[in-house]
Symmetry: C2
Subunit: 338 residues, 2 copies
DNA sequence: TTTGTTTACTTAATCGTTTTCGTACTTTTA
DNA sequence: TAAAAGTACGAAAACGATTAAGTAAACAAA
């Protein structure tokens, strides 16, 4: 590999001059700069990030921690969109993205924080993980700039989708379609679930809805088997709901299957709505009614805020950025004449 | 950050001794080693990858080039599974994964190869890209260890799913169900498409099937609108097919919608099959019949072969590894009484 | 006893950059 | 015309590790 030393020899100047010329320092003559850049290009010079990082303590590399309990990681149909958007944004700003090794089986493995220090990440984004993992906590409490997605830590920047407003909008939408007997199969216990569930109850109250306890069920996120079972239970109720809300789009398909198995028609006989707005939902029939998350903005915002924090640690205000989703009307929620 | 120098001072030995002790060289006394490791741990020492890379010319970092024309990148429902499996495997072996910046809009951007040199990747995996991009070619032809997925370059390791056998198995499966009028909407022109298409024709011939030209259509991968239109055309034929094969699972849903819109029932009136075996296909009703790719093995194999090549460049044999998929029977291909 | 062999370290160079400080020369200012 | 300022570059140290070569002490062999 051609290094600055090679260029310096070819140009008959010192290495220091080459470095300064390539970095456009003002104390190098215009002529010299031009010549050095020219020769560097001709020789196919590429800087060495390791060496640069060693001196400057900046890697222009961002660590990504992305691995939920279910180990879905990259295949998660909601978070993969967020990550994709994050990637585009950091790359536009000249940063790279490296995954924090989350393989926990190696004997000589490093903790998340150790790994981050080892690689010298300028900043870290955390999403889709077990936020109660001690290693995650250690990472968040370190002095490395961190942004979390969909989880709020004390005194750290977080990008959150607005689950309160999302659920409110979704429930209100369903209500406005004339539904009054509305069931909600919520996800497993988590901050996200709690936001949505309490928003569900509050909105129901505001709308004057009566939600019997048997209308509220739990099923793990993305678990179609669980939603299938719970949906059956709801359908078996003496006074079944006219609409069922699901933890997420993917899980809703389990419920839809249960409904179809009973010979019921969506949305004629019963309505359903998901949450997230994953791509496939718009390409099936009937199109899934859902609360569509703005994954593009969530990812981009996380990237922007993280880079801001990295580059201006003093002046960046630690805040929670809330991203609004919107109801995607679809065709799975029908109108009920009152 | 605590460095080897700090440890050497705390232990009263030289930096060299610390380095050798931590790396378990044989010329350091057992007692000393133990003491140094102990102190290093107590002081919270973490090695510095940049410095290490500078000396050893090994980064233990693998570059990932992953960005197709459609810019689906991480959200691709087939490749994201492959990538996930790749990630697990390299992480188990102590390697990290960094994306090669594929943002082409920055003025001062590097080419893929320059970026790879800049970061000093030990090896590179390429998938899901435009393989005719000159920058991709430049990268493949460089001296950096490379493994490609689903594309074969001259004298480079490739992991390929067996499209010939896959299509043969799928078509044979459909044939054995009694179908004789089988249409195939294939993907846009690519090596993958050509393998499948020629395998389709050859298998049809072997089975003694007559495939009229109007049964063969083209639609871009993952394009549900295109498959919707092409399916309508097929249904409008005077002698329509009894079964339609699609470019991929995702695209097949466009066709399924067209069929449903015509009031036809799957698989009573007409059968369909996809390709890939994406997760959602197994969670919808009727379950999609498809050729299920072994994404886990493709990713793992790519990782294994790449690491093999990195660590034993001389003795590693350059080969094409072919991974078999299997027919997932599903419920969208019905039986036809002959 | 002398020589040779181990053992257990240390010295010092090096990887490719950046950056502070210095220096020689030129230009401006009083 | 002498001092001050500015310009363009170089020398050298440093970042945090690795490693070849050297050395001193302990031990074994002749």
């Amino acid at each position: 590999m051609v290094s600055m030393k090679d260029i310096s020899m070819a140009c008959g100047v010192s290495v220091a001059t080459v470095s300064k010329a390539l970095n456009d320092h003002k104390d190098i003559g215009e002529e010299t700069k031009k010549r050095i850049k020219q020769i560097a290009k001709e020789m196919g010079y590429v800087p060495n990030s390791a060496s640069k990082a060693l001196k400057t303590r900046r890697t222009y590399n961002i660590g990504v921690l992305f691995a939920d309990e279910a180990r879905s990681g990259l295949t998660h149909d909601y978070f993969s969109y967020v990550l994709d958007s994050f990637k585009r944004t950091v790359e536009e700003q000249g940063y790279d993205m490296t995954f924090i090794n989350c393989c926990k089986t190696r004997a000589d493995r490093m903790s998340y924080l150790e790994h981050a220090r080892y690689r010298g990440f300028d900043g870290i984004v955390i999403a889709c993980v077990d936020f109660y993992d001690p290693e995650v906590l250690e990472l968040v409490r370190s002095d490395i700039p961190v942004v979390t997605i969909d989880h709020l830590f004390n005194n750290r920047i977080a990008i959150m989708s607005n689950n309160v407003k999302g659920m409110k909008d979704l429930l209100t939408f369903v209500y406005n379609k004339g539904h009054r007997r509305i069931a909600y199969i919520h996800g497993a216990d988590s901050a996200v679930t709690q936001s949505r569930l309490s928003s569900f109850y509050r909105t129901a109250q505001e709308l004057g809805l009566d939600i019997p306890d048997e209308y509220i069920k739990e099923a793990a996120y993305r678990d179609t088997d669980a939603t299938f079972v719970k949906t059956m239970e709801l359908l078996d109720l003496p006074n079944p709901p006219t609409c069922i809300l699901y933890p997420d789009d993917f899980a809703s398909f389990g419920g839809i299957n249960a409904i179809n198995d009973r010979g019921l028609d969506i949305p004629q006989d019963i309505s359903v709505a998901g949450y997230d707005g994953i791509r496939i939902g718009r390409h099936l029939e009937p199109q899934l009614t859902t609360l569509r998350q703005n994954t593009k903005q969530i990812g981009a915002q996380a990237a922007q805020n993280l880079i801001q924090l990295i580059e201006n640690p003093k002046t960046t205000v630690v805040q929670t950025v809330v991203i609004e989703g919107e109801v995607y009307e679809g065709k799975t929620v029908g109108t009920i004449e009152l």
